[in-house]
């Protein structure tokens, strides 16, 4: 029944030239806007929202879904090529994507990202179509204590996920946690660490921090290096390196893990893609056999988070479609646009407008296909970007950093914050400290603080509330396991060799 109406909605759209044209336009605009630093998926949708007002409802949904899906992939383009995440969902893609590009494998990295996005997106869509009500129930069992446990688990994983020693990662991560406390306290609205200035009242947003920490710091690094007459910006090799389909297929496990994490974290209301990618990346590093390769251009470091951010699209739509609650800021915009067309996503939509539900699913599917096709077509232009002389590119990047930081909230304060973190990122580079844990701390810190405190209020000050939650307890157990792994691993190896030795005499 569902499949049938899904197919009919799909064919209907595919056969209407107008719909297909709009969808292609949406995907193209989505990729471009997503690739622009500072224009997040949320903003890409908000910018193009007015265009959709005059369209028919089902075309408007199709158009916006294409923008949404494409912008999530688009974010990885700037992450890989110029080391600035285009969207918050791409903040970890550059950790390995950019080193790949520097090693002359820009095209490969982009294709990996694109394929992983498509696979992840399809996975998320599959879950949305098949198990939306079920997964929504499971996601709803995530309340404040479980959320706090997720944040703890994420922080434990991330402590190990940074290149270099764990202590250095923890040190920088702690700075990130403190940055997450700047601004209004989430539970009481009391300003903290604002030094009585207006600039800091709005807190430290993730996007300006990342744009400064990764983008501007990169520019500063190259300015410094250019004194030594080293070739400035990245990406020398523009030759067509042979793409290894087999190498990509070998990463199916990473993609699957990333997709699972993305879809599930996305389905928890108020989590969002930045948290999904942070956890997806961290678990890849933590449970990898070659953690030392991460940060140097490990393929898993690109495909897992890219699969996660795309599959979180389907994930975030689950609470929107089944409960009428937007899963994150992006789905809030999507929901707003549906509202303007007189459609209120939520429990009644399935009952009252089942064909709209089908056309949302079909639109999502078309968006994935078109993003793949247009993404591959755009690769042709890649050499043109790569051929831009480095000094021009550096100026361009610096400019994009400033504009991007301003654009996210229309605020000069964010530009100053971006500049500050640009300088800090450069300083960390000089001290050979990793800068990524700072961003991770900023994502997970407020999540942990808000939910921990809320759990304690709910438990009337008692920690018992965590004991009553099996999910939270399992997550804590996992965290302890992940921490103890380096201690246990040698024991395990010794035990195994002992056993073998014991066998030898017989």
């Amino acid at each position: 029944m569902l499949i049938e109406s899904f197919m009919s909605a799909l064919i209907e759209t595919l056969l209407s030239p107008w719909g297909l044209l709009l969808a292609a336009l949406g995907a193209l605009l989505g990729i471009i806007l997503g690739a622009l630093p500072g224009v997040s998926s949320t903003m890409a949708l908000a910018i193009l929202l007015p265009l959709s007002f005059s369209m028919d409802a089902h075309l408007a949904i199709l158009f916006l879904l294409c923008v949404f899906v494409a912008s999530v992939y688009g974010g990885s383009i700037s992450a890989i090529l110029i080391n600035i995440p285009g969207t918050p969902g791409a903040i970890v893609t550059q950790l390995d994507g950019h080193p790949m590009a520097k090693a002359g494998k820009a095209r490969e990295a982009l294709v990996y990202a694109l394929v992983a996005s498509t696979v992840g997106g399809a996975f998320g869509l599959g879950l949305l179509v098949m198990t939306a009500p079920l997964l929504a129930t499971v996601a709803m069992s995530f309340r404040s204590p479980e959320f706090a446990a997720v944040a703890v688990f994420g922080l434990v994983l991330l402590a190990y996920a940074s290149p270099g020693t764990t202590v250095r990662g923890l040190l920088v991560g702690a700075i990130g946690l403190i940055c997450g406390m700047v601004g209004f306290d989430t539970l009481t609205d009391v300003p903290r660490f604002t030094f009585d200035t207006r600039t800091l009242q709005g807190g430290v947003e993730l996007v300006p921090l990342c744009v400064g920490l990764f983008g501007l710091a990169e520019v500063l690094k190259h300015l410094h290096a250019s004194h030594q007459a080293a070739p400035a910006v990245s990406i020398q090799a523009t030759q067509r390196s042979q793409l290894k389909v087999r190498a990509l297929l070998k990463r199916w496990k990473s993609m699957l893990r990333g997709s699972l994490i993305g879809a599930f974290v996305g389905a928890i209301p108020a989590a969002g893609s930045a948290i999904a990618v942070a956890i997806a990346y961290a678990q890849e590093v933590r449970f990898s056999k070659h953690p030392e390769q991460f940060g140097q251009g490990a393929v898993e470091g690109v495909v897992a988070p890219e699969a996660a951010n795309s599959s979180s699209i389907g994930g975030t739509m689950i609470p929107m479609m089944t409960l009428g609650v937007p899963g994150d800021a992006i789905t809030a915009v999507l929901m707003g646009s549906l509202l303007i067309h007189g459609l209120r996503p939520g429990p009644m939509l399935f009952a009252e407008n089942p064909h709209i539900v089908s056309s949302i699913y079909a639109g999502f599917f078309i968006a994935l296909l078109l993003t793949l096709i247009i993404g591959l077509l755009l690769m042709r232009w890649l050499p043109l970007i790569l051929r831009i002389p480095s000094h021009v590119l550096l100026i361009g990047i610096a400019l994009l950093c400033v504009v991007g930081a301003y654009a996210i909230r229309n605020s000069m304060a964010d530009v100053y914050i971006m500049l500050f973190f640009g300088a800090l990122g450069y300083l960390l580079h000089l001290l050979s400290l990793p800068s990524a844990p700072l961003a991770f701390g900023l994502i997970l810190g407020p999540l942990l603080e808000e939910n921990l405190r809320r759990s304690l209020i709910l438990g009337r000050g008692s920690w018992d509330i965590f004991l009553h939650s099996p999910i939270a307890m399992s997550l804590f157990a996992l965290s302890i396991f992940a921490t103890a792994l380096p201690l246990l691993a040698p024991l395990w190896v010794r035990l195994k060799s002992d056993l073998q030795r014991m066998k030898v005499p017989f």
Partner: protein
């Protein structure tokens, strides 16, 4: 930063004085910015975007919606207050701006804003979870009277509308809720659906569908009349309790926009809000449009400010430097 600002504004001022009579006739001659202090997709944003969409009926220039967010809405309000007072920057605000002006010494004082046009009220309804086994307002109050603090209520952080609404309920009926703060309406609704909290006072469009689907139960509408989205849910007054809690949408200008322009804007927006196609689109998404002219808007804001101040003062939330 300051010096060029000064030069620009003084030049602008001079040229304004010089050409004032001429300009007044042409106003508006470029797009007008509507500043929304909350992110895209919320009710404030939708109201502004609907106005922008229907502006062509009554406006000669386009309206451009700009989201300036952060610091519980006070960043957006300050953005408007600091903008050039030429009438090309207009803000949308509600209860949050009043609360912030008393709680946060860095927020814009209400005196620095000029009310322009009242758009409409946004009434709240009291919702409880299905498991709570409470059928009407009387049962809800009984539960609270028997065991003060036994109902866990989800709301904004202090200063947000749903926090103020919950406090109003406590004050009016002399009961005590356990108030748990959430970051905005969407997380509050999820907490209600997941059963983490037992009740919440929130704008009706956010709850109507879930009520119809049986995921939660609406006990009463805190307004004079029932809401078109939930015609079967009685008001508090119908159940014998005189309780009204509503947020509102209002347009305002920076302090010293020339009177002529202010009047012109008030007139234009008032006409836009009465436009039939705008009203239809607004009622489709559950917004109540009840425009009021400039002077009535100013009076409404004063009344609400007094009310909110009293609630905040009683809860000890007014900043020491901002007491009346």
């Amino acid at each position: 930063m300051k010096a060029p600002h000064l030069i620009i504004s003084s030049t602008l001022l001079l040229s304004l004085l010089w050409t004032a009579p001429l300009l007044a006739d042409d106003f508006p001659e470029k797009p007008i910015n509507i500043v929304v202090p909350w992110p895209t997709g919320g009710a404030y944003d939708l109201a502004a975007r609907l106005m922008a969409e229907h502006a062509s009926h009554t406006f000669s220039v386009p309206l451009v919606v700009q989201n300036v967010t952060g610091a519980a809405g006070s960043t957006g309000v300050r953005h408007v207050a600091d903008a050039t007072a030429d009438g090309y920057t207009i803000g949308v605000m509600g209860t949050h701006a009043i609360a912030q002006s008393y709680m946060n010494p860095n927020a814009t004082a209400l005196d620095d804003l000029t009310p322009l046009v009242f758009i409409g009220p946004e009434p709240a309804a009291l919702a409880v979870t299905q498991d709570a086994d409470i059928d009407d307002v009387a049962a809800y109050l009984d539960t609270l009277n028997e065991a003060p603090g036994s109902v866990i209520n989800g709301n904004d952080s202090p200063g947000g509308f749903s926090y103020i609404a919950a406090t109003m309920l406590e004050n009016q009926f002399d009961v005590e809720l356990t108030k748990i703060p959430y970051q905005g309406y969407a997380p509050t609704v999820s907490a209600l659906l997941s059963g983490e909290v037992m009740s919440a006072l929130l704008p009706i469009p956010l709850l109507a569908d879930q009520h119809a689907a049986g995921q939660l139960r609406l006990l009463g509408v805190a307004a004079q009349e029932r809401h078109p989205f939930t015609p079967e849910v009685p008001t508090f007054q119908e159940q014998g309790y005189d309780f009204i809690a509503e947020d509102f949408f209002m347009l305002y200008l920076p302090g010293d926009v020339p009177e002529e322009r202010r009047n012109k804007l008030a007139e234009m927006f008032y006409a836009l809000l009465q436009d039939a196609s705008f009203q239809e689109a607004a009622s489709d998404i559950g917004l109540m449009i009840q425009p009021r002219p400039q002077d009535e808007t100013a009076r409404y804001l004063e009344q609400r400010a007094d009310e909110v101040y009293d609630i905040l003062a009683a809860s000890g939330l007014v900043d020491d430097s901002l007491t009346r």
